[in-house]
């Protein structure tokens, strides 16, 4: 054998990180860098040094996300394309949303959110049809609907961001500042987390459950829009005028989205388990196996817990700058701690004691109730410093 030793070692080694990068990967990174530089050139006048750092961090994060999960690239590029198109149609005149066909019927933030809502509800129904019919085609349609809903939802957020600046540079802000805006964020984040697991596990049977919680959020959003007119863009109170909002809120919603996903899989787990024991063949066939649900539930809670830890810490750092202390036992802070302790207990049971099954599924469902209280209940029933989203 005329194989040199070096060649042999080459043959054995796993390709290193840099070696594994393809031309497409490099292209992706280059595009993100170019886009970020363009954003910096266009908007740096409105940014402080922290926001520039956040932009750089976002660029790195986006590159990493695209490398880790290739579908993110298509999503990002589509969102970027649609958003830029909408920005171009707007020019510098907010009034364009009444006149321009595309803004009026598709890309104005309100219209985008209506499309998102409709698509999410359709996706929910289609996922249910997929679970019932077992048709792969129907499943692909459901996925496509979810992808479209997420795309148009994120685009809507981007456009809303611009619209707020068109109302006045002192009014402009990232659209994660009130309950209306974060509900959209919640729907989109949950959907993307789900799509990640859908692709990873190769089954679409979890969709019917996860999309249910998104549809519930959409129902709330629509009520909030039409009954309370909460969709109007409002200027920021002084306490929210900070770069911290750009990182604290999204980090939180990765947590909330993951916990919601885990809870819905908990429901699916319990149903599948019941179906198996009761011998309901058709029901069991419509659901993924318990082991898979268990695995995804764990992964979701682990990611949610990590993101939520980070978000709460960011919140504490922000509180130290805005409220005079990193911890004041404010109701929102305290409930964040309660949520954190709850999932810490869950993870200890799972990782250290190796617990699985019905108790963990139930616990993740209860965990969502606790999380929902921290997210909404605190705003509705308890007063405190963090009362930015009241009903």
């Amino acid at each position: 054998m005329a194989v040199t030793r070096e060649h042999m070692l080459d043959d054995l080694a796993a390709p290193g990180f840099w070696q594994r990068l393809t031309l497409r990967d490099w292209l992706w990174a280059a595009l993100v860098v170019a886009g970020s530089l363009w954003a910096y050139a266009s908007y740096s006048a409105y940014m402080d040094e922290y926001e520039v750092a956040i932009l750089a961090g976002c660029a790195l994060g986006l590159i990493a996300w695209g490398l880790q999960w290739p579908p993110a690239r298509g999503l990002s590029l589509t969102v970027a394309g649609l958003s830029l198109f909408a920005l171009w149609r707007y020019g510098n005149d907010l009034g364009a949303q009444e006149r321009d066909f595309f803004l009026k019927y598709l890309l104005g933030s309100q219209e985008a959110f209506m499309w998102m809502s409709a698509l999410f509800v359709l996706a929910t129904l289609t996922y249910i049809a997929h679970s019932v019919s077992q048709s792969a085609f129907v499943g692909r349609v459901a996925s496509a609907l979810t992808w479209s809903a997420s795309t148009i939802g994120i685009t809507g957020l981007m456009v809303r961001w611009r619209e707020s600046y068109l109302m006045g540079t002192d009014i402009g802000h990232i659209p994660v500042s009130n309950l209306y805006e974060v509900f959209i964020l919640f729907a989109v984040v949950t959907a993307l987390l789900y799509l990640y697991h859908e692709r990873r596990t190769g089954t679409r049977k979890m969709g019917a459950f996860v999309l249910l919680v998104i549809s519930a959020a959409i129902a709330f959003l629509l009520w909030y829009t039409f009954d309370r007119e909460a969709n109007r863009i409002m200027p920021l109170v002084p306490a929210l005028q900070s770069y911290w909002m750009k990182i604290h809120v999204p980090a939180n919603f990765i947590g909330y989205g993951s916990f919601a996903l885990a809870a819905m899989l908990g429901c699916a787990w319990l149903l599948r388990d019941k179906a198996e024991r009761a011998g309901w063949r058709a029901v069991a066939a419509a659901l993924p196996p318990c082991a898979l649900l268990d695995d995804v539930m764990y992964k979701a809670i682990a990611l949610g817990f990590a993101a939520f830890t980070l978000a709460t810490i960011l919140g504490a750092l922000w509180a130290a700058e805005a409220w005079g202390g990193y911890w004041s036992w404010d109701p929102k802070e305290t409930w964040a701690l309660i949520v954190w302790l709850n999932y810490a207990a869950w993870l200890h049971l799972r990782l250290t004691k190796g617990m699985r099954g019905a108790p963990m599924a139930w616990w993740s469902i209860i965990g969502l109730l606790v999380t929902a209280f921290a997210f909404l209940g605190v705003n509705m029933w308890l007063s405190g410093l963090h009362s930015y989203g009241t009903l």
């Binding site: 796993a14 002084p238 196996p289 817990f305 701690l337 200890h348």
Partner: protein, 685 residues
């Protein structure tokens, strides 16, 4: 899951109680119980509003439960001994857990576990086996060692009597994740404890300091309730600073009293600025301050403190917290409403002052409570088309200008609260001076609408009121009308009209109707009251015409619509006077605003410790979840002339990712050794 390194020997000597206790404290069950208990206990403080004045709690719970809850520490739950005790146990449990597991885990990072059985390797989920008739054990060992090394595994060899074991290991960082995350909890709790109230309470308990519970000015607070800068490692206090004043201390509120915390420097508030968006929402609060510190500064340090942008000076963080009036100088005119004659007296005072007044109704104390320059309020429905209003249709707001709030307290201590606007407010196309009154802060203000005349002044209304109370002129006016009625001559009718006016002014229309009912037989009562009301209206009208005449108008040539509307508005205001209670209306004529800024000043000595904990926690959590401690073994034995090889492995996280890596290892090995005899099944989907 990883397997415990040490296995419990079946027969152990009976353990001592202390070691049993130690084990219990570090046990997972205890830890999980504590997590849940802390979570549940934390709920209390979010449901019951914390650190409110004790008076509020007494009103809410009654004296008995107030006392019970106070003893349980529910008004400051997060500083209550029992709550701190639970937190202490959480720290203790985590520490014991660390103490027990860290040595093992650190050893685990470098412990290769070179003693394994072929049988147990075959039981691994990820395993593969080869029979290699043409290679020696040494060759196989060499290849596997290179293969694992190329994949980042550290490898150690152990030769046994009839076989050799290559043990590979990577991802030791994962174990550090556990260490970091749990150490972080201990560090955060210790840092938080240092920044809490505990040190203060300790000194209070030792009798070194005493809480001031009296309502006394700062200068009268005794030294025992004063804390020197060096005394306090950590604190969080507030001070309300009027523009142009300087302070070198602040108040630390605790339970139902306070301490005074001295500062090693002084803060002077030069100016407080507030800005609004067109929608009326506040846009920014800013304090321009000067820091005076002769020991450390050559000249005073100027700075602007904004929300989200505190000033950090010598480890003290100064925050914009709230704002209010700092003692604006108000000039007012006490416009008589009960016919007091003579020039309306002028008053002057600062917000926060109490001014004794002598009135025909007895002595009153005027307590000036607040002054607000801007009052951006929703525009009434009738004014939605107002070009001055901002915002979207249906939600327009407008600045209604300055107002001030005061209380009038009588000799018995009873007080009514008033809120008067300086400039007239436009409603339905007319303008009114608004003056609100209420009996207690729990009520809404009910507003007296004093109509403003064409010059936007209250003068016409006030002249009207004055004339209505001027008996001689009224008498002359009514007599001059020369009117008579059945059974009454002109003189008598004039007296009746005077009485009607007087009754109306003192008790309102209803009193006239009631008195008529009481005096006239029932069958004629209605007719009589209609007569009297008509007479009253005519009388008031004549008085009003007289007022117009005195203004130089010629009412004989006809009364303008606006003047007629004014008359109706004036009558409405007159009817409301009965419930206005004050003998005068305080008209704000001039002001010099002086604002005050509420500053919060903190020193958090434990902050850096806590932040270190935050960093460790974040790092620990991500490392724990997203790295994995992986082991691979190669069991190699001579098999006749050839060699038998078993590869197996496991990871403590992300088993499917490990399974994928193991597949790759097997595939790479297969290039050298050929396809394996047996291989683990693909992970279940």
């Amino acid at each position: 899951m990883s397997v415990s390194v040490r296995s419990d020997a079946p027969a152990r000597p009976p353990r001592r109680l202390s070691s049993q206790l130690f084990e219990f404290l570090g046990s997972m069950n205890f830890a999980i119980m504590l997590l849940v208990v802390v979570a549940i206990a934390s709920v209390i403080g979010t449901v019951l509003k914390q650190n409110q004045p004790y008076q509020d709690y007494i009103i809410k719970f009654g004296p008995f439960w107030f006392d019970v809850f106070r003893k349980l520490g529910l008004y400051d739950v997060y500083d209550a001994p029992w709550f701190l005790c639970i937190l202490g146990f959480l720290v203790l449990s985590t520490s014991v857990c660390l103490w027990r597991h860290v040595p093992g885990m650190l050893a685990e990072i470098n412990h290769f576990r070179t003693t394994v059985q072929a049988k147990s390797l075959r039981a691994f989920h990820s395993h593969a086996e080869w029979a290699l008739p043409e290679q020696t054990a040494a060759q196989v060992q060499q290849s596997v060692s290179e293969l694992l090394g190329a994949r980042g595994y550290r490898v150690r060899l152990k030769e046994h009597s009839d076989h050799r074991v290559l043990a590979g290991l990577k991802g030791g960082l994962n174990r550090c994740g556990y260490l970091f995350a749990h150490l972080a909890i201990v560090i955060i709790c210790i840092g938080g404890l240092l920044d809490g109230n505990l040190p203060l309470k300790w000194r209070e308990w030792r009798g070194e300091i005493r809480l001031e519970t009296r309502d006394v000015p700062a200068r009268d607070v005794p030294d025992s309730s004063r804390l020197q800068p060096s005394d306090n490692f950590s604190f969080r206090g507030n001070v309300r600073l009027p523009e142009g004043t300087t302070t070198n201390f602040l108040f630390l509120r605790l339970r139902d009293g306070f301490f005074i915390q001295e500062l090693p420097f002084a803060i002077e508030l030069k100016k407080f600025n507030v800005e609004f968006y067109p929608t009326g929402q506040p846009k920014s609060f800013e304090s321009d301050v000067l820091i005076h510190d002769e020991d450390h500064l050559q000249q005073p340090l100027p700075a602007t403190i904004r929300v989200n942008h505190p000033l950090v000076y010598r480890g003290y963080a100064i925050y914009q917290s709230d704002f209010g009036d700092g003692g604006s100088l108000l000039t007012m005119r006490a416009q008589p409403l009960l016919g007091q004659q003579g020039e309306a007296p002028q008053l002057q005072g600062r917000v926060g002052e109490k001014i004794p007044l002598k009135t025909p109704q007895g002595p009153l104390t005027l307590e000036l409570d607040d002054f607000r320059l801007y009052n951006i309020l929703p525009v009434p429905a009738s004014e939605q088309n107002d070009p001055q209003a901002h915002g979207e249709a249906g939600r327009k707001v407008r600045n209604f200008g300055p107002n001030f709030t005061y209380r009038l307290r009588d000799a018995t201590g009873q007080a009514e609260e008033y809120q008067n606007f300086m400039v007239p407010m436009r409603l339905d196309g007319r303008s009114f001076f608004l003056s609100g009154v209420r009996g207690s802060p729990a009520e809404e203000f009910s507003y007296l609408h004093i109509p403003a005349d064409a010059k936007l002044s209250p003068d016409r209304f006030l002249r009207f009121v004055a004339l209505l109370h001027d008996q001689p002129r009224l008498h002359a006016l009514f007599t001059a009308a020369g009117e008579s009625a059945p059974g009454l001559n002109a003189e008598e009718l004039a007296t009746v009209r005077e009485r009607l006016v007087d009754l109306f002014l003192r008790q309102g229309i209803d009193a006239i109707v009631a008195q008529t009912r009481a005096r006239v037989p029932a069958d004629k009562a209605e007719e009589a009251s209609r007569f009297f009301l008509e007479l009253l209206r005519r009388s008031l009208g004549e008085v009003y015409i007289q007022v117009l005449r005195e203004e130089g108008l010629k009412p004989e040539d006809g009364v303008a619509d606006a003047d007629e509307t004014f008359f109706n508005d004036a009558l409405n205001a007159l009817s409301a006077l009965g419930s206005y209670r004050a003998p005068f209306w305080l008209q704000l004529t001039n002001f010099e605003q002086l604002q005050a800024s509420g500053l919060q000043i903190t020193k958090a000595g434990g902050q850096n410790i806590v932040y270190l904990g935050f960093a460790l926690l974040t790092l620990g959590v991500f490392v724990m979840f997203y790295t994995s401690h992986r082991r691979v073994w190669a069991w190699i034995a001579a098999d006749g002339a050839g060699t038998q090889l078993i590869l197996a492995g496991s990871g403590n996280r992300h088993q499917d990712a490990f399974a994928k890596e193991f597949d790759e290892i097997v595939r790479t090995a297969a290039r050298r050794f050929g396809p394996p005899l047996a291989e683990s099944a693909a992970p279940e989907r």
